[in-house]
């Protein structure tokens, strides 16, 4: 177990260094820089700007300097927002994205799990068909369609919500619902699949033969095994919810990190791009690791090995 962690940690660290290096140099080779604007600045001003941000140094030195400040936990100043450091921006926005992600995940599980279980237990009845249709529809319709539709109905016509924003608890409901539905769909389908497989196994028949109630069969005997596919999906899905919330954050003007992740690249905000990339890389690695551990705990067939 300890060896497993040590080796995974080492792998992750190596991957992280490769990611940082690749991102750093790719950014610099893309045409246009942070000071490329429609109204060109004079050459003297451009020189001043480059000196101000240390961009006049040779690239290898900038790279080493960046790694140096990174080691001290300093992501540097933002180019686009000169009065914020990248550390500040990340610290400001990560909690928002986390809140959005966790609440959405809760919605996704609350909708997806019961639907999937019901569909599996009442297989090939109307319950199954309704649940499966929901799954198909939820997977097929992207959030940028569901979002505006719900805003149109619930915010503009019924006036229950604001059309966008992240100010009061009520503002959380629409975006979390939209993002939650998007993930509820695959969860319900995976749950159904996993449950069906378990329900057809011998030990379930044994449990039923021993007179266990249907509720007990589902809750006690099949759930743990049936949810395995969902768990392996959840690792990348949580990462996806956190990183992929760009669309939702844009539609609902949520001050989260997904928007910065995308916009910083458009702005050639070198330090902010690197900051968000590093953050996401660490998050994804950690979540995948967590998914592996949970899976090993739930499934006796899986062992953690280096």
């Amino acid at each position: 177990m300890l060896r497993f962690f040590a080796s995974r940690l080492l792998q992750s660290l190596l991957a992280l260094i490769i990611i940082i290096t690749a991102t750093f140099f790719m950014l610099r080779f893309v045409p246009g820089g942070p000071f490329t604007t429609e109204k060109a600045v004079t050459p003297e001003i451009l020189r001043n700007l480059e000196a101000h941000y240390g961009l006049d140094q040779p690239l290898w030195k900038q790279y080493l300097d960046y790694l140096g400040s990174l080691a001290r936990g300093d992501f540097g100043p933002s180019f686009k927002y000169p009065n914020r450091t990248v550390n500040e921006i990340l610290a400001d926005k990560l909690p928002v994205s986390l809140e959005l992600g966790v609440l959405s995940l809760l919605v996704a599980l609350l909708i997806g799990l019961p639907l999937g279980i019901l569909a599996a237990v009442r297989r090939n009845t109307w319950v199954d068909y309704v649940a499966s249709s929901f799954g198909m529809v939820g997977i097929s319709i992207p959030t940028f369609v569901v979002g505006p539709l719900l805003v149109l109905a619930l915010a503009i016509h019924l006036g229950w919500f604001n059309a966008s924003g992240w100010y009061s608890p009520i503002d959380r409901m629409l975006p979390c619902l939209v993002l939650g539905i998007a993930y509820a769909a695959p969860i319900s389908r995976l749950t159904r699949g996993g449950m069906l497989e378990v329900l057809s196994q011998d030990f379930i028949r044994t449990a039923r033969a021993k007179g266990a109630s249907e509720l007990r069969v589902v809750m006690r005997h099949s759930l743990k095994g049936g949810l395995l596919p969902v768990v392996s999906f959840l690792g990348p899905a949580i990462a996806g919810i956190l990183t992929g919330s760009f669309v939702i954050e844009t539609i609902f003007q949520i001050p989260g990190i997904g928007r910065e992740f995308v916009n910083s690249a458009f702005n050639r905000d070198y330090t902010l791009v690197l900051g968000t990339v590093i953050l996401y890389a660490v998050l994804i690695m950690a979540l995948n690791l967590a998914a592996d551990v949970v899976q090993a705990w739930m499934n006796p067939k899986v062992r953690l090995e280096a």
């Binding site: 604007t37 600045v41 001003i45 100043p77 919605v107 006036g159 009520i170 003007q253 001050p255």
Partner: protein, 539 residues
């Protein structure tokens, strides 16, 4: 586990049931202002980079900076003209070189300090300090020694043309006559900053220190900064120290960063905004039909055009450029494609109160075809496909496709459309890696000079390879011409040169389309510089 889920979902349902329909006119997204306070909710485009007038560069920043700071002069009630602001009055010497400003006797910073001439001089010293690397420092170049100081050739700031004669008298001496100086001073590069505050939060040479945060920022404008939540909102409140506070009819303004214009329009419909920053093109017709009272289309001093790379064959041939320019039906472009009351452009400078250029691109399709044949490509035969570059956007794409079709139909010329991401596109334009490139130019100040200066040989914004000695000479001459009629005539001649040489193909003059509460009083400003004294909700 399951039970906890159930409890939570129950709580969520209760929350949902608990929210009642609310009055659409009162956005719920506000910190509670005082009872009866007049609050404005404005969509402001993107999140501002910063609020330091000597650091920022964009329109969203401009709109907030104008609430927090005040320059010497400002736009009048109609959105044009000049009225006193931080300067109560001013005089200009006979030779047009020495400007003397008498500051407002009651002018105060938001911390109570008086606004002095030394504040202005110190601020100008800061923006011209090369170490600050301000992008708009060159706005001050008309002043004696400003450029030299900024380029590090002059160390002693007291030898520049900025002088504080006494606490309330500021004198600015120019290198040479600059007719549009007062007009250009409405730009925030000329605004003062409170130096002790800047000093306190990291020094005068540091960009982006914390001095512009709420609670720290000290300004001399009509409003003070109450809250700045990044990507959420910026709240400003009427400044009790402002010299003309009785003229303000709005107590609080809340600026929302509205990057997504579809979302912004929905915010307007739920009553979260009194005014949007933009309006999606598809929605313009809907508003025309269903709520014309909320639709506003203001003139904007800007031109949509195409740059031509004069260094590449075959477009280095003037006849082909002219053929292309003549074979466009601009009425169709503005009537069917852009559809927001834009004016078709047949010259390089949009009309303004003080100047309407007589130059005009004239000619018909027959001439266009004749010119193309003369150049050796009858009906486009033998001409290589010409690339038309634009930055990735639905609207630019529609226009490019319309042009592609017009040129193919009218001239038989093949056009290849190339779209690039914004900064890549800017880079291509800058390095002359294009044939034809879509472009726009919005005035910095209301004077024709802003539309002609960029075609100077070697100017950083020229990006066409256009170099014309006669043109450069006229540009210099116009700057030193005191007589307004003579000066306007010179710009007309420059315009005629541009329409003859055609380094650009003008398409249309911009408008600004947005949705606004019918009660909102907001005079159109040609360069989107607001004067908040004249922006309020009618009762």
């Amino acid at each position: 586990m399951i039970r906890r889920f159930l409890t939570l979902s129950g709580a969520a349902l209760l929350l949902l049931a608990g929210c009642k329909p609310r009055d659409a006119a009162t956005p719920s997204a506000t910190a509670t202002p005082a009872a009866g306070a007049k609050v404005l909710y404005l969509g402001n485009g993107t999140e501002p980079q910063d609020l330091d007038p000597q650091v920022v560069t964009g329109v969203p920043e401009n709109k907030i900076v104008n609430a927090l700071f005040e320059g010497l002069v400002a736009y009048g009630p109609s959105g044009q003209g000049t009225i006193p602001a931080a300067a109560a009055s001013w005089s200009i010497s006979e030779d047009g070189l020495v400007y003397t400003f008498n500051l407002q006797p009651n002018g105060r910073w938001s911390n109570g300090d008086p606004v002095t001439a030394a504040d202005f001089v110190g601020s100008y010293r800061r923006i011209l300090n090369p170490k600050l690397a301000s992008e708009y420092a060159n706005k001050l170049y008309p002043v004696v020694g400003a450029r030299e100081f900024h380029e590090g050739k002059l160390q002693d700031f007291s030898r520049t043309g900025f002088k504080a004669l006494d606490a309330r008298t500021l004198q600015i001496t120019l290198k040479r006559r600059t007719s549009f100086l007062i007009e250009s001073m409405k730009h925030y590069a000329w605004f003062p900053v409170h130096l002790p505050t800047v000093e306190k939060f990291g020094g005068l040479e540091r960009k982006g220190s914390a001095w512009t945060r709420a609670g720290n920022l000290v300004g001399n404008g009509p409003y003070t900064l109450t809250e700045w939540s990044m990507q959420q909102r910026i709240i400003v409140d009427k400044a009790p120290t402002y010299w003309d506070r009785d003229a303000l009819r709005t107590d609080r303004i809340i600026f929302y960063p509205t990057e997504n214009i579809e979302t912004e329009e929905r915010m307007f419909r739920t009553g979260q905004l009194h005014k949007t920053n933009e309006l999606p093109l598809d929605k313009t017709d809907v508003y025309r039909r269903e709520q014309p009272e909320s639709l506003r289309i203001d003139p904007l001093l800007g031109i949509y055009f195409f740059r031509i790379n004069l260094t590449r064959p075959p477009l280095n041939d003037k006849r082909i450029r002219r053929a292309l320019a003549l074979a466009i039906n601009r009425e169709v472009i503005v009537g069917k494609v852009t559809r927001q009351n834009q004016q078709p452009a047949y010259n390089a400078c949009p009309p303004m109160e003080s100047f309407t250029s007589p130059a005009r691109l004239a000619g018909d399709l027959a001439e266009a075809r004749r010119l193309l044949a003369e150049a050796g490509y009858p009906e486009g035969k033998g001409l290589r496909p010409i690339e038309l570059l634009y930055n990735t956007s639905q609207n630019h794409k529609k226009i490019a496709e319309a042009l592609q079709q017009m040129w193919r139909q009218n001239l038989g010329v093949d056009i290849a459309l190339v779209n690039q991401e914004w900064k890549v596109y800017l880079d291509s334009q800058d390095t002359l890696a294009y044939d034809l490139s879509r472009a726009g130019w919005i005035a910095d100040y209301v004077d024709p000079n802003t539309f002609f200066d960029l075609w100077r040989t070697g100017d950083g914004n020229n990006d066409t390879g256009f170099a014309n000695a006669e043109y450069d000479r006229l540009l210099e001459e116009a700057l030193g011409t005191a007589d307004e009629t003579a000066r306007r005539a010179l710009y007309a001649r420059m315009d005629a040169i541009l329409m003859d040489e055609l380094p650009i193909i003008p398409l249309y003059f911009y408008t600004r389309t947005y949705a606004a509460n019918p009660r909102l009083q907001s005079p159109p400003n040609l360069v989107e510089t607001p004067n908040y004294k004249f922006i309020y909700l009618r009762d």
